[in-house]
Symmetry: D2
Subunit: 344 residues, 4 copies
């Protein structure tokens, strides 16, 4: 830990801090500069945090040397983690395709969409039963009924399933009916929720908050892993910036950065990341190219009739085209796609 | 509602949409331009939303004419709402001062701080029992024990109290022990929580999310009011921008803008809004000047020993100075401060 | 153009505006809603702009229907524009590789770097003679001497050349010695400069400003084209967001979006777009995948000794590896790389 | 300077860096931690910059201890600088009011507006002769003719004058006719322009770029001062954020922060900072309260007819009201307004 003193701090101020560091069992270092004094402290930074040196009036800045996440870091575990979502090995040599509607509207709608996406090569079916909506007057989802529909459709098609959990009280139902739990962007720092899913062994797809830094995203993942659940997948789904031409700014830098620092698999959501139907395919290809382990795509049997987020949903034909366009890039990246099963 | 067609949309595309609008019982308007066709729809926009015109491939853009919030808007209710937090009338001619430590650490710490802030003119005591922390390894708060301490300190000092609620399961305890509930920035779109506090009549201080637009903030308030609880106070606490010199960027534009559009009281948090102790006083004065109804300030009996957010906490002496500096601006704004009670 | 009136506007206010629109020779449309009145105006929006309807106190919002750029839009010109930079056809079926050091430091340094990048497959040599530096105390470039060095190195290696122009007074020198002119991010809205390069026929690489929207970027390109120079290439080089893990946030959404809306070629700068050496290769691959026409890469014969931006510069070996990794993605995208000439 | 090594750096890597620091005449400090090695270097950081330690592959991060600006810092000069704009002492105990139209349209328009703003208490007349416009098809200003008009109006009313300079080639004309030079937000890092005005002794109002950090803003000011001109005023005029309800986000945190760190006067522009006429007055009051030295306000004799930025321009009546509302806050801040001269 590096402690930079204010320019008017005295020699005595410095000595006081050096003694505190020493008393905590760490090794203090004194660096009196021509304009500022800098102090170093060698040892376990967590012990140092409890000293709260940043509270001292003569201290200008305290800079930790290490990032705060540990368990999700490659410094702890160098290999790629593979998270098993049903039969789908996320983070493996096989590039993962998750697809499905924004919201579960009916069994008929979900089943038809599921068959289309499976035919085109998806192995995980997405769809929301509980919908976080900005306006209280918008459709809020089918709830537990939706979970049951998804369970049924998963069984019929052989697809693994994923759905968003918003409320701890729904955790048991989601865990019973669905293969993997999604934590949405708005709940990335809902620590109650993070700890609750951390106490299960269910695979969790943790979506980046709209204005969450990469460090905060990895710390949110750390919450889950530290609670006992190592099966965490990170999802980059676009951040909020000044640009309004696209709904969000898909931050693919973050994908490459996280793959370098963390062993967790990374999934990209180009549907929310752009909010524009025609941009989903180019950005899915870019996701493959920058090292993502999979994509999650909104697809609806009839986007015209989708009750939510229709502007970004692909039709079955669009999705089929996307998969064809994606294939050579998956090959270029040295990965494979799941074998397409033309029956269901 | 305005619907702008793509530049290659045909006359038939336009007719299809015009008929949909007509069939929904609204009045369609056809505006064929030289380069683009624009269609208008007159009537209740909520009916139009269910048409999902944005899903049609020939549609480029759908622009609602009205903002989506209603109940919190001055168009519905023109006067200023006054929310009663215990004995403190927030949104009235009296400028509200809420102050206290970031976290409740002990009865001793809270009581001593409470006495100081009351002496200097605060009427509401703040302090966290449940702490949302970015890192799972940081102090997470005293929990229900903290609520009891705050209840006791409130009784002893005559201060009204406010604390953050993070988990629906703690709602009963918070409602029992504390005067007002704070919804933190990270939970501004935790709809489970919003609906739960909306089903009580407790005063709610709703903090703006780090990257929430003003419209999203007012829609989050609308969730609470639409659930039955009109006692909502808005809190501007800084947004996340590219600037890193300050912890957040306090958006006082938002205060003036919300006061113009909404009848709800607005509180400013210059402690989180700057993250820098020496900037709290100038920004509190600016909050008064731009029309805020109150401020919420972090104050600790001994910032050196604070377990969290110490860089922005004021000492009792600092807080006393701030109140003295604030007074002439409160007078200039045509408001008053609560009479200072020099006993407790 | 759509004009939305304030909710308290009267029927007479509406009539006044309708008459103004009519008097300007356009077709007015009246849309009195239940809560707001909306007015449409059909015809050439530029005429409408001079009416300044947004100035009227009863007007809440004026929304133009069309984007403001024309000449750079695919609505005017549907095919892809190919800009010829010396012998390099940018925007063609050949994927363009521009590479070289941040700053020209000496003939020796530039020549050695140029030979390496040519060997690996680049056809355009980049390097700064005039350096925009945030601090007045940093190295500011070799100036005209640098241009002469680059001219000489271009001749010796057969590489085309590109360098940044910051000052109109240097335009003649840059145009004499260098194949293409770069307008840097800080000068994207330096209209004096845009008009000056617009009056030449030199190819111009226009870099996106740190906080420029896509619309502003295309309008800046429109300045150049409207001044008479159609040879414009757009460069996405990262925008400024709240994320600090990377130097900028490379916005590949913008690449896909611009390729859809504009006929101009788009180059991606993953060196500035990430600021992190190890992220240059994954983001270059992503640029290929999302439809960019080329990349511009910082490469230095010895990054350790680079006088600027060293953290993002590739060594010749790194650059060679990047080119090998890029090749399968270029093939997957249906494009080619220039044939590598192993002599120089 | 603090140098943090990568977690896989060896003891030999550390020794190599320590020797480089020593060879440069500085004092090296070795801090081998349990997970990372940190190295300190004591002495003049500018010497260290030329070592380019960040280029070494084993280095993760180089953190300078000091801010890069010097001449504009209070560490060099503790008192408040007063910049004399004609007869107006900016940064003094008198709060400065600059006002006038966005663009100079005619002598008649400017003179009438000037008389109104003088009557209400302004002492500096603003108005653009050269207009930076996002679209090449918008009005670009009257040019030198506008400067002459402003000169004449200044003489007739006794107002000091300020106008924007965009092109070095216009510097002589602006300096001849106008009291103070404005550098616009788009040109904040146009170093050619900064150096040119730095070689005069004219007062310069330097506006913050839309996405410029406070540090970059102060470094741009440093360019001017380092070129020989100490007469620099800083202008906060709103930054670009995700919020679109207001045109920009006025960052008053920055005002308080800069007043603490720099001795230069700070002016706030609530007209561009909000872009909304009704928000100008509350934000002007907030500017006074947070410690600004003055405001610059757009005012037009007839906003309905303004050729640009009309949505934010005040009418003479609005401006008069603003001045009346401002007065008690100026008094509360311990400052004064210029005595209003009711003749002209």
């Amino acid at each position: 830990m590096i402690i930079i003193l204010r320019h008017d701090a005295s020699e005595q101020d410095a000595q006081e801090i050096l003694q505190k560091i020493d008393a905590a069992g760490l090794k203090p270092l004194h660096m009196p500069g021509s304009e500022r004094t800098v102090i170093g402290a060698l040892g376990d930074e967590r012990v140092l945090e409890s000293l709260h040196l940043e509270n001292l009036p003569q201290v200008d800045l305290v800079k930790p040397v290490l990032s705060k996440y540990k368990l999700v870091s490659r410094e702890i575990y160098a290999q790629d983690t593979v998270v098993q979502v049903g039969n789908t090995p996320v983070g493996s040599e096989q590039f993962t395709i998750m697809a499905g509607p924004c919201a579960i509207e009916s069994e008929d709608q979900l089943l038809e969409t599921a068959r289309y996406v499976k035919q085109a090569g998806a192995t995980v079916l997405r769809g929301g039963a509980f919908k976080p909506r900005t306006s209280p007057y918008s459709f809020q989802g089918l709830g537990v009924e939706g979970l049951k529909i998804m369970h049924q459709v998963g069984k019929e098609t052989g697809l693994d399933t994923i759905t968003e959990l918003m409320d701890v009280n729904d955790l048991d139902d989601v865990a019973r009916y669905i293969s993997a739990i999604q934590i949405g962007a708005r709940n990335m720092q809902n620590y109650t929720l993070l700890k609750a899913v951390g106490e299960t062994q269910k695979p969790v797809l943790l979506k980046r908050g709209l204005s969450a830094t990469i460090e905060e995203l990895l710390l949110a993942a750390e919450y889950i892993v530290a609670s006992g659940n190592p099966n965490v997948m990170i999802c980059e789904r676009g951040i909020r910036t000044f640009e309004t031409a696209t709904r969000n700014t898909l931050d693919l830098n973050a994908v490459a950065f996280i793959k370098e620092r963390s062993h967790l698999p990374v999934i990209v959501d180009p549907s929310h990341g752009t909010g524009v139907r025609t941009l989903v395919s180019p950005m899915a290809k870019a996701a493959v190219a920058c090292g993502a382990d999979g994509v999650i795509i909104e697809c609806h049997r009839s986007p015209k009739e989708s009750v939510s987020d229709a502007a970004q949903a692909l039709s079955p034909q669009d999705f089929h085209t996307l998969m064809q366009q994606l294939a050579p890039f998956v090959t270029a990246s040295g990965r494979t796609l799941a074998e397409v099963a033309y029956a269901s």
